[in-house]
């Protein structure tokens, strides 16, 4: 009885999995049509599911709140996921120029203090 129940459940699950795939197989999606004209075609061959897993792992590693990760991934297109996957640590992350200026100022101050340069005339 239990195994028959299991068979029914599995059949149902397969139906659910199967139908959208069949319907999509013969239709060219709009994004596919757009990308076919604008992007290198080999990109499409890269598995979007793999890119998704990779981005998820990078989000975790970079300290994104676990509760936010799924909704952030859901708003990215496959092409964006492929771009992000593997590169998240190196891509430009807009932050704050003040930090950079601070570091440069600190370096100049140290150089001044140890006598390598002499640009702050009033510096003791």
């Amino acid at each position: 009885m239990r195994s028959r129940c299991l068979v029914y459940v599995l059949c149902l699950a397969m139906l659910n999995l199967g139908s959208p795939l069949v319907a999509q197989a013969e239709l060219v999606s709009t994004l596919q049509a757009v990308e076919a004209s604008t992007r290198a075609q080999d990109l499409a061959a890269v598995n979007a599911a793999l890119a998704r897993d990779e981005v998820r792992a990078q989000f975790e590693a970079l300290g994104v709140e676990p509760a936010q990760i799924e909704s952030r991934i859901a708003a990215l297109t496959d092409a964006e996921l492929r771009t992000l996957a593997g590169q998240m640590a190196d891509m430009p992350a807009g932050a704050d120029a003040l930090a950079v200026i601070g570091i440069v100022f600190l370096v100049l101050l140290i150089l001044e203090a140890v006598g390598v340069i002499d640009i702050f005339k009033k510096f003791p």
Partner: protein, 324 residues
């Protein structure tokens, strides 16, 4: 305190580079600016002073609020901020714009496109690169105006509500960020001076993440704005097919084929819609043309799959099939 030889040489080179960088003179904006008397400032654009490292959420809140979304910089932090990078990525600003039901349009990387967008009344989120070498200072800001006679831009930037930046300085930092610029557009409206391919890519992105109503509004705007292009008709027909409205889908694909008879994707999809409607005779004719057009291209596998599905359709035409 005098510098030793090598250090003095480095300083001299640096000074020479700075002087060389400033050597080319002449206004940047005067020749490019044409609209609105050469001066625009979108004064009503809101301002969200940024917290430390959080120019991404602040800049995004600025353009989203200007597009009528009820957000703050703080409310966007969990959506776009990455603690491990102490910043935000471009792709995530695009994705968050979508999540708030706005079309994320990436501008063509030209000064003309930037000025035309400001002339059209939309503030522009830009990426700037200010640092150098091992300390690249990536920064997001929002351009809200320009003044050609004074050759400067006006930005909402960091903690400054109204930052005037010389056009030369702004362009230098924008160039080094590959002139990346984003606007948030109300679905159903077109951005000022829109580029068709960029607009359609943004609209298709809405559809791809499941925002079908916003995508439909965007495609309808494209169909009105570019009546000679087949892609908006094709896109609307895809949405109709997904809703299960096969008759409307077939009409839309047919409209796309009439606008561009070389469009293999439109012919493939029309053939599939005809098959699903129970019109295999016309579907066969359409898929044969699609096969010739798609041969060797990226769509050939899909077209072959459609052809097989039509070939295995054994029942004849139902009543009411289109004549051609």
């Amino acid at each position: 305190m005098t510098a030793p030889g090598p250090v003095r040489a480095v300083l001299a080179i640096a000074a020479a580079l700075i002087v060389a960088g400033c050597a080319v003179r002449g206004p940047v904006l005067a020749p490019a600016a044409t609209g609105a008397g050469g001066r625009v400032e979108l004064e009503s654009t809101p301002f969200f002073p940024q917290e430390r490292y959080q120019c991404g959420p602040a800049a995004l809140a600025t353009v989203l609020s200007a597009a009528g979304v009820d957000v703050t910089a703080d409310s966007l932090v969990p959506e776009v901020y990455i603690p491990g990078r102490a910043g935000s990525l471009q792709a995530e600003l695009v994705a968050a714009t979508r999540r708030h039901d706005r079309l994320p349009y990436i501008l063509p990387p030209t000064l003309d496109a930037l000025l035309a967008t400001l002339d059209g009344g939309l503030p522009v989120l830009v990426l700037q690169k200010q640092g150098a070498g091992p300390f690249p200072g990536w920064h997001y800001a929002v351009v809200v105006g320009y003044d050609a006679s004074r050759d400067h831009f006006v930005l909402r930037s960091g903690t400054e509500q109204r930052k005037e930046l010389s056009a030369r300085h702004f362009l230098a930092t924008w160039d080094r960020a590959e002139r990346w610029a984003l606007v948030a557009v109300q679905p159903g409206a077109l951005p000022p001076a829109p580029d068709f391919a960029r607009y359609m890519e943004a609209a298709a992105g809405l559809e791809a993440v499941g925002l079908l109503d916003a995508a439909a509004l965007a495609y309808e705007a494209a169909a009105r704005g570019w009546p000679a292009e087949s892609l908006p008709q094709f896109a609307l027909a895809n949405l109709a097919y997904a809703r299960g409205d096969l008759a409307a889908a077939e009409r839309g694909f047919h409209a796309a084929v009439r606008l561009n008879p070389q469009d293999a994707a439109a012919r493939n999809n029309r053939a599939e819609a005809l098959r699903a409607l129970g019109c295999p005779t016309l579907a066969r004719r359409e898929i044969e043309v699609a096969r010739m057009l798609a041969a060797g291209g990226p769509l050939s596998a899909t077209v072959e799959a459609t052809a097989r599905a039509i070939a295995s359709h054994e029942i004849g035409d139902v009543a009411g099939c289109p004549p051609d």
